[in-house]
């Protein structure tokens, strides 16, 4: 049997090396582009997903989020719970917060952001929001009468620039008026403005817990505790550990909390990606098919003669499969080179998404999948046309 493959390979190699180089080059180029297309978009999407996930962890939720027990609105004895959580192995830090609605007015413009009350010294150990202050400073534990607002909330004087209700260009040092949920109104000096790239965070306002508690007349309470764990990725296990250590409040992972938002984005990306993959593969099938088909039709007579001198049909079919595989291998190789060049370029000048630069993430499984599907594509595209052509009566093939 192996002799057949040898002869088929021999024939294929000669037909390729002594055949039309232009057509070969063109086909290989197209397959290379298809290969790049199969990998490039998904790897960008993977990069975006990773960026979004990291942002969710860094600026919104940490690794775990603890919320009040079911049917309760607040976590009472938040400080005690915080200390308990901090002692659990695997926990790095935690930050009790109180997040609630508010209305902020500045120069006659008003917005209703989420007002988050934090203890800055705890918050900085869990989130990285404090590193994203673009003007002024972040809060400190002792701050009273000071507020830090997100850039989206601060807005700009030119109303057309803002896509959402904003304070129309509140700046550091200016005074804003905040109305709390209990109806109390206070004046706050803007201490800092932050821009994290995470739209939720950038529309929030931050004050200290001390300040919040004095206004609201509460103490030692929170409605969420964000937890940072030593490793990212084992949140589900950590969640169970927390419960085993007797945390009776609801424990969520950042993935749970961001599910709706992120999953709908990832879901849409997956659909786009699926369509693009299918289209690419169909293009690849059609191209290789056409090339091999034209080739076999063009050599119809020759194929008839080969059969006439006793060369079995299967050898001829195999030789066309080999040619298709060769095109596929060259195309894939050229595609790899092209992809590496693109990746290199993108590392040097990355795509910037809200929240930071996105590095394409090249997953081996994805590459193997692309190589595998191109392989199958070329098997089909090599087999079908040569099968069709060799099925013809020898005599009618020879007559041309």
């Amino acid at each position: 049997m192996l002799e057949e493959e040898q002869v088929a390979f021999f024939l294929a190699s000669r037909l390729i090396t002594r055949g039309n180089k232009g057509t070969l080059l063109l086909t290989v180029t197209i397959i290379a582009l298809v290969f790049v297309n199969l990998i490039f978009l998904p790897s960008i999407i993977a990069g975006v997903v990773i960026l979004f996930n990291q942002q969710t962890i860094d600026f919104s939720y940490g690794n775990l989020v603890i919320e009040p027990r079911e049917n309760e609105l607040v976590i009472t004895k938040a400080d005690e719970l915080q200390q308990k959580i901090n002692r659990i192995p695997g926990v790095v830090a935690s930050s009790p917060r109180y997040a609630g609605g508010s209305t902020i007015v500045y120069k006659g413009r008003s917005a209703s952001p989420l007002l988050v009350a934090i203890k800055p010294s705890d918050e900085v150990q869990v989130l990285k929001t404090h590193t994203k202050v673009i003007s002024g400073d972040f809060l400190t534990d002792a701050d009273r009468g000071q507020i830090v607002i997100g850039r989206t909330l601060a807005g700009s004087a030119d109303q057309k620039v803002d896509r959402v209700a904003s304070l129309g260009g509140a700046e550091v040092g200016k005074t804003v008026e905040v109305t709390f949920r209990n109806g109390e109104t206070r004046q706050y000096r803007v201490k800092g403005i932050l821009y994290s790239g995470t739209s939720a965070t950038d529309s929030n306002a931050f004050i200290t817990r001390k300040e919040y508690e004095s206004v609201m007349g509460v103490s030692d309470s929170a409605n969420q505790i964000l937890v940072k764990t030593q490793t990212t990725g084992n949140e589900d296990a950590m969640r169970i550990t927390l419960m085993q250590y007797g945390v009776q409040e609801q424990v969520w992972t950042w993935e749970d909390k961001s599910a709706d938002f992120l999953q709908s984005i990832v879901g849409s990306f997956a659909i786009i990606n699926f369509i693009s993959t299918i289209v690419s593969l169909i293009i690849a099938i059609v191209i290789i098919f056409i090339v091999i088909f034209i080739n076999t039709v063009y050599r119809r007579k020759q194929i008839g003669i080969l059969q006439a001198i006793g060369i079995d049909r299967s050898i001829i079919i195999k030789s066309y499969i080999f040619q298709a595989l060769f095109i596929c291998v060259c195309g894939t190789a050229a595609g790899c080179v092209l992809l590496l060049l693109m990746l290199q370029y993108l590392t040097a000048s990355p795509l910037v998404f809200p929240g930071g630069p996105v590095a394409p993430v090249l997953e081996l499984s994805l590459v193997l999948q692309a190589v595998g599907s191109l392989f199958v594509v070329s098997l089909i595209a090599g087999y079908v046309p040569s099968w069709l052509t060799t099925r013809e009566e020898i005599l009618s093939a020879i007559r041309g």
Partner: protein, 225 residues
């Protein structure tokens, strides 16, 4: 060697029926050099196609080299062509991407000969057909006569029981035709190779041992010269 009995090849049906072969009985012995001649459309190619297993008779029996070939499957017929027949076409029919040598050893490679054996056999045959110095020429780099000699070498490589040639000189001038005819004659004489050749040129007949003449699908004369 060949025993064909009441061979019919009928194309079409009813009023448009064409009897390309109309009851041909033919026996050819080993070592004969047989010429088949006749007017255009008399059925010469049709007969050769049957002998070459490129086509099946509508009816009739055909034994070649002791095998009842009409009973063979398609795959067996392909193997039979490879192992026992050498077919030479009017237009040489070489693979343009293969060199002279590669064209010749292709059929022997299929039989599983090693590259070394192939190369040896090729060189021998190429010197037999007088093309020692054309080993690595592509068909496009050779004259028609040279290409036809390569085609004959290709037909010879597997040591066939029978060589069939359908107007091998039709595209050649007289000088080259003579070279081809002498080559076939030499193979027939020196190697005791059975050769059946179709030709409608009167002057070719002096090379044949025997001339079979067809007319409207029937043998009208069968003369040993």
């Amino acid at each position: 060697m060949i025993a064909g009995n009441s061979l019919f090849k009928i194309y079409g049906k009813g009023s448009v029926e064409v009897r390309a072969l109309d009851g041909v009985d033919i026996t050819i012995s080993r070592g004969e050099f047989v010429g088949i001649t006749g007017a255009s459309g008399s059925g010469k190619s049709t007969l050769l196609h049957l002998l070459g297993l490129l086509d099946r008779p509508t009816s009739g029996s055909l034994r070649i080299d002791g095998v009842e070939v009409s009973a063979l499957s398609e795959k067996e017929r392909t193997a039979f062509r490879l192992n026992r027949l050498g077919y030479v076409f009017q237009d040489y029919a070489l693979v343009p991407e293969l060199t002279a040598e590669e064209n010749i050893f292709l059929p022997s490679k299929v039989r599983g000969m090693t590259s070394k054996e192939c190369t040896r056999a090729c060189r021998d045959i190429l010197s037999l057909v007088g093309l020692k110095d054309r080993v690595s020429f592509l068909p496009g780099e050779m004259s028609g006569g040279e290409q036809q000699r390569v085609a004959i070498a290709r037909a010879l490589i597997n040591n066939p029981a029978l060589i069939l040639a359908d107007e091998p000189c039709a595209n050649l001038d007289t000088k080259n035709s003579i070279v081809i005819l002498e080559l076939l004659k030499k193979l027939n004489h020196d190697l005791r190779q059975t050769v059946v050749m179709v030709s409608h040129e009167e002057w070719h007949q002096r090379y044949f041992d025997r001339v079979v003449t067809l007319q409207d699908g029937k043998i009208i004369s069968d003369i040993g010269t």
